[in-house]
Symmetry: none
Subunit: 197 residues, 4 copies
DNA sequence: TATGAATGAGAATTCATTCAT
DNA sequence: GATGAATGAATTCTCATTCAT
């Protein structure tokens, strides 16, 4: 009984969130109206407020909830690998594919980052995410450097550069038509780690 | 006479533009009001319309005019150099310094890029700028590759990757405190070109 | 069985009413929401509608039901008294105490009276109450005048003046801190009846 | 030039204020919409905000500005009078006439007082006004008592009682039709001062 | 040219009421 | 009987743009 109702609620909530990603991403936060979200989700205007107290709250959920999914996929690293080079290339490929298939969501994230003063709460979360990512990558880089597979560089710098590169491509590929190019950037990304031969 | 008057006009126009960059960059287009611009520029809000027909027009000028300055500085390349490696490193350093000192303006540009559907006219211009930049860089990369100083890669890809990297750092450094880090990325950027030895 | 259930209902109904007095009195009719009443009464907001059809109905009950209690206490007059002066002073004392202890309720009543066009039904009831009060008082005043204890004045005028005075104090004491002052007004009120010596 | 424009502004502002008194008084603050005010004043909705920043600001002006006029008229007292009794009667008559002709405004004031927590700023001002009024009246009462014309009572209490009485009549006369009665209350009010003979 | 008053479309949010569970 | 999700009318306030002075 209650479960059924609760389930229905969750479904509806998810629908709102899904449509919000698209709308916020395309139109920006300010220029997306609650009415638009409601229409897209097939519910009445007032109902959006049943699920999200304010527009700001909705944005927060819209940004934060998918972030956890991204985190899960982005943080998969096999530190025990025999072949660091191989692991690194695989990791880059996974990351680039993730970025290339999350265009809409990432566009939204970049809007948030481009307005750092506006959504401070979100910015802090995104910043923490970034730090996490960098810290996850460092051990692998260190391993590669120890094994003489990678040039000696500050691992934090390398990880930061790599993450920046991923984001930068997303930004630039928003300008250009996005195509198979994405895959080509795997090699470029790899270079940032300073592979030796 | 007329010259004096004309000069005064240009000064005022410039003041509006300068304040617009800051305001649009910080508050975003929609959340910056003409009133705010007028206040910042020390004129009445009605006067803004004397210099710019609409808010959109103002944004266009705000984005496009500094772009020319950026272009000038970004496009300086000495193709005749004896030492491609040296020239490349100098170029990267100049570029990174330019990016690190243009934070406010670039934040504005990224807002535009994060909303590709919104300001199509501006997007086209920025896209053209990007293409220009890439095309300017290609000959130097080709020269380096021919001389055996750089790994053989698609020059367009390399140039694109490099430009993306610059933009990506700007994005990420907006998250992190911006500091001497910028300089450190010179080496990372250089790696993207695939230097041999 | 049914009695028990019925009793439980009455208890809940009373709880709603009690909380409504406080909330309507403090926040006004429009700015009190059914949700607030429900929260205060510890029930779900949907349940309020089980007990009161509409918000207006709730207000009516909130104003009218305590009025009967006030009526009972306000209308106690011993017409057969030997000493009119004594009876009058006692009556004033009882009335003033009642008013001083019913601040919250009276504040609500004054809100109703201050918006005569808004709740016409309630206003009629309050008006009838006022007329009743005046009519109840007249015989005592007449008796006092006949016995030469009170100055000859239109008894209806005197009663009206007295009732107005009570209400006026409530209003003014809302401004000032309410304290022992209330008791002091007994003498002032007495003067309105025109005591001789 | 500027004067003409400034004058026109003041006229329009006054029109808004005049209509606001009526509307707020009749419909209450919450149930008066800016649209209603705009319509009544014959201007567009948005223009109200040209003259008053917020609805709350408008209310404040609506309550406070007429208060100064009331103050002027209410505070006229000739302390040097030969005949305190006469002066007192005249004063009461003036006050009662003022109250009887300011019904609409006073109804608004009473709404404010009936919601003490809502408009704290206004309440403080009204409270200060009340204190002023009482303090102005005290010397005359003291004089009357010294001259043996008035019964010895705490002058502050008497003044407070008198002011409360005036307000109470306004409240009660809101219930009853307002008529010549007002004038009749002059004698009742006079009694509050405790005249001897 | 400069100013700022006037306008009104548009947006977020609130809330009484209804009604399915 | 109790609950709370759904609805949409209603309201305040914002702001680009126009235009008279």
């Amino acid at each position: 009984m209650t479960n059924k109702r609760e389930a229905a609620k969750q479904v509806k909530r998810k629908r709102i969130l899904d449509e919000s990603i698209k709308l916020f991403s395309t139109n920006g936060y300010t220029e997306t109206t609650i009415q638009m979200v409601a229409n897209a989700a097939g519910i009445s205007f007032g109902s959006v407020f049943t699920y999200f107290e304010t527009k700001e709250t909705l944005l927060e959920a819209t940004v934060m909830e998918p972030l956890e999914e991204v985190r899960e996929q982005l943080m998969i690293i096999n530190y025990e690998t025999e072949d660091v080079t191989e692991e690194l290339k695989n990791l880059i490929q996974r990351n680039i594919r993730l970025f290339s298939t999350s265009k809409i969501y990432l566009q939204l994230v970049q809007q948030i980052i481009s307005r750092p003063d506006r959504h401070p709460k979100l910015l802090m979360s995104l910043d923490a995410f970034f730090t996490d990512f960098v810290n996850h990558l460092i051990p692998l880089i260190e391993k590669g450097q120890k094994e003489g597979k990678l040039k000696i560089q500050d691992p934090e710098l390398v990880a930061t550069a790599y993450f920046s590169f991923l984001n930068g491509i997303r930004l630039t590929m928003g300008l250009e038509e996005d195509h198979i190019w994405w895959e080509k950037f795997i090699d470029s990304a790899y270079l940032l780690f300073g592979p030796i031969d």
